[in-house]
Amino acid sequence: MANVIVCVKQVIDPEAPPASFKIDAAANKVVPPTGISPVLDPYAEYAVEAALKIKDTVGGKITAVSLGTGQLRDVVKKPLSMGADELVLLEDEAFAGGDSWSTAYALAMAIKKLGEYDLILCGREASDWNAGQVGSGIAEILELPSVTLVKKIEIIDGKARVERATDNGYEVIEVSLPALLSISHEIGEPRYPTIKGIMAAKKKEPISWAPGDIGVEPSQIGVAGRRTKLTKLFQPVREGKCEIIEGESPEDAGANLAKRLREAKIL
């Protein structure tokens, strides 16, 4: 039996077409695309999948925790419909606009309130700010050991044996529990919610905690708790001067491309 806590979040759909991505330069903010629903962060879905794999093998309980404002129930309930047991939301306005520091702090305090756990799982980063820090931050605040970029987990004799992706392969690491693991996409494709899971998720009321419920001061969380300042957010300029090589047939165009590259001394 393992008690697993998974940190998730709602994000702007990272698979939305690049052309739909817009920035409000004056506010240094991303403008949510119209007509495209937000989604559960795909990196967090891998963490949920990792938690479910543990539950499949050793049993136990999975609690998802999500921080953010304007969270759509259908989105943040996805871990429940995939098979998680509980959902805790930190959706007070005071939690919004934070950086890795204030977000990790709020999540760590919520996890502390949840109490007993063997593992805390996070995505290796989130698809919006790509910070890649909240997991390690939670571990540091809760004084837990951490392993990042995890692609496989086994629970053996009260410890976790994990595979950690490295730049030229992977390493097998044993870590004492409780521990925090940040999950990489190599863990495997997240499962689809089942009909049964969706029905159960519909009925499940998430627990919502305000800052006071987890014993944090508004000055420590959200915008107020930031230690980094975003000075500028902008879109890189694309040149767009592509010379399209044509031909009488696709084969002909392919051959012409070879000739053109030779002429241009690229090859």
Binding site: I12, P18, F21, S100, W101, E125, S127, D128, W129, N130, G132, Q133, S136, G137, A139, E140, P145, S146, T148, L149, R161, A165, D167, N168, G169, E171, V172, I173, V175, S176, H185, E186, R226, T228, K229, L230, T231, K232, L233, F234, Q235, P236, R238, E239, G240, C242, E243, I244, I245, G247, P250, D252, A253, G254, A255, L257, A258, L261, I266, L267
Partner: protein
């Protein structure tokens, strides 16, 4: 409290040599240190790394801290945090630079929280703000759809830098610097992990990061058979095969061949993108290539905004003819 001053670079060592990431950081760090008018220090951590200190100086460091201990022969989070905390207290740098590697990505955020400061991961550029003298840290966000410039409000300011974002200096063997040996002073009982095994995943042929020609395939390649055709072209051009994320997730090619924000960063002379749509997250791994060539059936695909030459159509028809013609031209 003492004042934070200067730059500290964490130099990674692999197989007894300074990594290219380390020399790039030293090159970038040297420039920042000169802009600030402050010294550049470096730290070498491991076992049997002391002999590299002079090389670190040759690449631009004024001072090298060497920490050796059998317990830190392999990277592990806990002992590295203890060592870096010790070095930080000794060196009091206002900036700590690490590589955006599997080590730096683990070490930097945990160290930042440990020292009650902040980190920014995967930076493309670091510069000194002329007014505040704080570090302007530029990094891709939203999967490469945007770039963000952050300023840390606490010291030390910690940043990891992506491969190939900075250039190493020409090493000067005559350069003088100071080498300081620091005792790791580690208590084994405080290390909560054990590395049981290290498993390298070798890719045959030329390494993707070193290749001058990269032939990359996307989801549209459809399977491992299709990648064989890319392999043939790569072989002809003495290059390597890369991929976007879906082919790796589907197991068509090893994960190590993924190019992009979550994979490798490549800067070849020639990047041939076949059935690659050009999603921002992929482009942030290859946009530094000298020439991008695109073959894609969708003329609206983003890749044509990045490419210098392109063909619109079915790669299954175009690629064999392209490879054949090249073979002929290269032989002639």
């Amino acid at each position: 409290m003492a004042e934070y001053k200067g730059i500290l670079v964490h130099c990674e060592v692999a197989e007894g040599k300074l990594t290219s990431m380390a020399t790039e950081l030293l090159g970038g760090g040297r420039k920042l240190a000169d802009d600030l008018g402050e010294p550049l220090s470096a730290v070498l951590i491991g076992s049997g790394v002391a002999g590299l200190a002079q090389e670190v100086i040759a690449f631009g460091a004024d001072k090298v801290y060497v920490v050796e201990d059998a317990l830190i022969k392999d990277y592990q989070t806990d002992p590295y945090i203890m060592v870096m905390e010790k070095i930080t207290k000794e060196a009091m740098p206002q900036v700590i630079m690490l590589g955006q590697t599997s080590i730096g990505r683990d070490l930097a955020p945990r160290l930042a929280f440990h020292l009650s400061t902040t980190a920014n991961l995967g930076c493309l550029e670091l510069a000194v703000d002329t007014e505040t003298k704080r570090l302007l840290q530029t990094k891709p966000v939203y999967g490469g759809n945007a770039l963000a410039i952050f300023i840390s409000e606490t010291d030390p300011q910690i940043a990891t830098v992506r491969a190939k974002a900075m250039s190493p200096l020409e090493p000067d063997p005559a350069r003088k610097g100071e080498v300081i040996t620091v005792d790791a002073g580690l208590a084994p009982s405080l290390i909560r992990t054990t590395v049981l095994e290290k498993v390298p995943e070798e890719v045959a042929g030329i390494k993707l990061e070193d290749a001058e020609v990269v032939v990359a395939g996307g989801r549209g390649i459809g399977g491992p058979e299709g990648f064989q055709q890319l392999e043939d072209l790569a072989k002809l051009l003495k290059g390597a095969v890369g991929a976007t994320r879906p082919p790796c997730d589907n197991g068509w090619v090893p994960t190590g061949q993924q190019v992009g924000l979550t994979g490798k960063i490549v800067t070849p002379d020639l990047y041939i993108a076949v059935a690659v749509s050009g999603a921002s997250q992929h482009m942030s791994g290859c946009s530094g290539s000298k020439n991008i060539i695109a073959i894609n059936k969708d003329e609206e695909a983003n890749i044509f905004r990045e490419a210098r030459y392109g063909v619109v159509g079915d790669w299954k028809k175009i690629l064999p003819a392209f490879t054949e013609k090249l073979k002929e031209l290269l032989a002639g």
